[in-house]
């Protein structure tokens, strides 16, 4: 894992990718810092952290598009996959390399609150908490980017799809507000999920029996829940979509609340996408 990590980290700075990422990130961060802190003489630094999160939409695809797609395009994945390394350690090495570049950039921005502290009092712990949230949010976005990069051998497609996925997460909270919360729509959505899962199983295994069983069990569970607790389906769509709402949990950090649950959430979120990446690579070798 360490070898892959080191190679990826070097590769970021052997090509313009690392510099573009850091440069753009620091530029946006600097502009916001100048406008909301320096020019207004305000020590309220955490607002900078909450307003620059949009920059992830643009820079995360730059950081992750190459990771897996370039390996399969250049056929260097043959080297990695025929070496005694496990797929998990390859994926982790790449993920941590991208996260390390991100972390270095974030650490550079730590200079801004230090500058502020010379001229006034800053809420140190609030900023530390804010940075933890900021870092975890970025790391979760990177895991999505890495996953998408493993699906294609074209960097541009990986970048565009990653951008789309992040944009979807971005507007998710806004979408959630307009979604119906009544019982019927909840049940329809749950049934669609069960059928969708069965269809997915069918397309991957081509086994009609297993997928039919999954669909029947899924629908059975839905019926069971309906007869025992029918209020479960009130707002079911909203609750499901909220699982994916990375930004809602980020608000806690910005309010100065540092609790365990969003931290666990972000780490789990990244872990799930890393797991999916490993599965995609393993799957490709089987088909």
């Amino acid at each position: 894992m360490l070898a892959v990590f080191k190679r990826e980290l070097k590769a970021y700075f052997a090509s313009p990718t690392g510099y573009i990422f850091m440069g753009f990130f620091l530029l946006i961060c600097g502009i916001f810092f100048a406008f909301s802190n320096l020019l207004t003489a305000s020590p309220e630094y955490i607002s900078v952290l909450s307003s620059i999160t949009f920059v992830f939409l643009i820079v995360v695809p730059v950081l992750t598009m190459r990771l897996m797609s370039e390996e399969s395009r250049q056929k260097t994945d043959q080297l990695l996959l025929t070496s005694p390394l496990s797929v998990t350690s390859i994926v982790l090495g790449k993920y941590f390399a991208a996260v390390a570049v991100f972390l270095i950039t974030v650490l550079i921005t730590c200079l801004y609150p230090v500058i502020l502290s010379f001229f006034g009092t800053i809420a140190v712990w609030e900023i530390v908490g804010g940075y933890i949230g900021f870092f975890l949010l970025g790391a979760a976005f990177i895991s999505i980017g890495l996953f998408i990069s493993s699906l294609t051998d074209n960097q541009v497609i990986a970048a565009v799809v990653t951008f789309g996925a992040l944009l979807f997460i971005w507007v998710l909270d806004w979408i959630i507000q307009g979604i119906p919360t009544d019982k019927i729509s909840g049940i329809v959505f749950a049934c669609a999920l069960a059928v969708g899962a069965a269809a997915l199983v069918y397309f991957t295994t081509r086994n009609i029996f297993v997928s039919a069983t999954i669909a029947i069990i899924g629908l059975g569970i839905i019926a069971g829940i309906y007869f025992t607790n029918q209020y479960f389906f009130d707002g079911f769509i909203v609750r499901t979509l909220e699982w994916f709402s990375l930004l809602k949990r980020y608000e806690n950090f910005m309010m100065g609340i540092l609790s365990l649950s969003p931290i666990v959430y972000y780490i789990t979120f990244s872990a799930v996408f890393l797991f999916l990446t490993v599965r995609v690579i393993e799957k490709r070798r089987w088909s």
Binding site: A3, R7, L79, T82, P84, W286
Partner: protein, 315 residues
């Protein structure tokens, strides 16, 4: 050393490798011969664990590729058809990286690195970026990569493709040299290459093994056609008539006139008859001197045609 048992690989409806069985003994150099798309690369990818077989199993040194992939992969050095090189690294950085992912310790790494660089002659380009190297050097770096960690088994997929004739001879003698210490499988679509290097040849076509023999036996079986190309100084019609009337000649046709006053003829003899001497005496008696006479090698297509029809006759 290597056991390939009933390996099949399907891509949807298409069968890339069809129930392939063979074993490779320790210290053997096995040649894998077949046209493009015959399933050579797929078979090699399955042995090295890059892709998995739909059916069947592969064992290297007693370890199954599916059950103990790490043990198998440790024992194999693989050089794919397109060497898996990182263009943004220098040769030295790249080989260091490969030693790291093959989990070599520092001392072994240092010791083996110099030896390998000497062996494939890339020591003087070690500081250069791989993307700036010529095709021949890239190929050598690819080979060096396979040699790192001194794996007992080497799998080389078309190791001489894209090289100039001098480099091809170098690489071939290098492979022969390596064969003293390693078990080697190498693929090619050039028969002379395989017969020059390998102790045994497997011919594969459309995913199936059609022949498996030593190169000597194979060429004996294939030399039966006895086709000769010759240039004779003399008038076209008379020469052709003379040749056709000769006993043992199945067919003769004019290939063209390359030198004024001469004619080039392609002669096909009956099976198992050596017509070179009668041909010589007949033409010299008629005072049509032979300027050159050589036997024509079979093209790969013809070899397959012959081997496949022969197999059918046998079975």
């Amino acid at each position: 050393m290597i056991q390939v048992i009933d390996v099949t690989k399907r891509y949807g409806q298409h069968v890339a490798v069809d129930h392939v069985n063979f074993t490779v003994e320790q210290g053997e150099i096995l040649g894998f011969l077949g046209p493009n798309g015959a399933g050579k690369t797929t078979t090699m990818n399955i042995i090295t664990g890059y892709i998995s077989a739909t059916e069947g199993s592969v064992k290297v040194d007693g370890y199954d590729i599916l059950e103990e992939p790490e043990e198998v992969k440790k024992r194999i050095g693989y050089m794919p058809e397109f060497p898996p090189l990182y263009m943004d690294m220098t040769v030295q950085e790249y080989l260091d990286f490969v030693s790291d992912i093959k989990k070599l310790d520092r001392a072994t790494k240092k010791r083996s690195m110099e030896k390998i660089m000497d062996l494939v002659k890339i020591g003087h380009v070690r500081k250069r970026l791989i993307k700036n190297l010529s095709k021949g050097y890239k190929q050598r770096v690819g080979l060096a990569q396979a040699l790192i960690g001194a794996p007992p088994v080497l799998i080389l997929d078309e190791p001489t493709v894209g090289l100039d004739p001098k480099q091809i001879i170098e690489i071939r003698s290098l492979i022969k040299e390596l064969g003293k210490e390693h078990t080697i499988i190498l693929s090619s679509h050039i028969l002379p290459e395989v017969s020059a290097v390998c102790g045994r040849v497997i011919i594969i076509n459309k995913g199936k093994i059609v022949a498996s023999d030593t190169p000597e036996n194979l060429s004996k079986r294939l030399s039966g056609t006895g086709r000769l190309s010759l240039r004779v100084a003399g008038p076209e019609k008379q020469v052709l008539k003379l040749v056709r009337e000769l006993e043992g000649v199945k067919n003769a046709e004019v290939q063209g006139v390359k030198e004024p006053g001469t004619v080039d003829i392609l002669v096909e003899a009956e099976k198992d008859i050596d017509i070179r001497r009668p041909l010589f005496y007949a033409l010299s008696r008629a005072e049509y001197p032979i300027l050159y006479l050589r036997s024509v090698d079979l093209t790969l297509e013809e070899i397959f045609l012959q081997v496949t029809t022969e197999e059918r006759e046998v079975s």
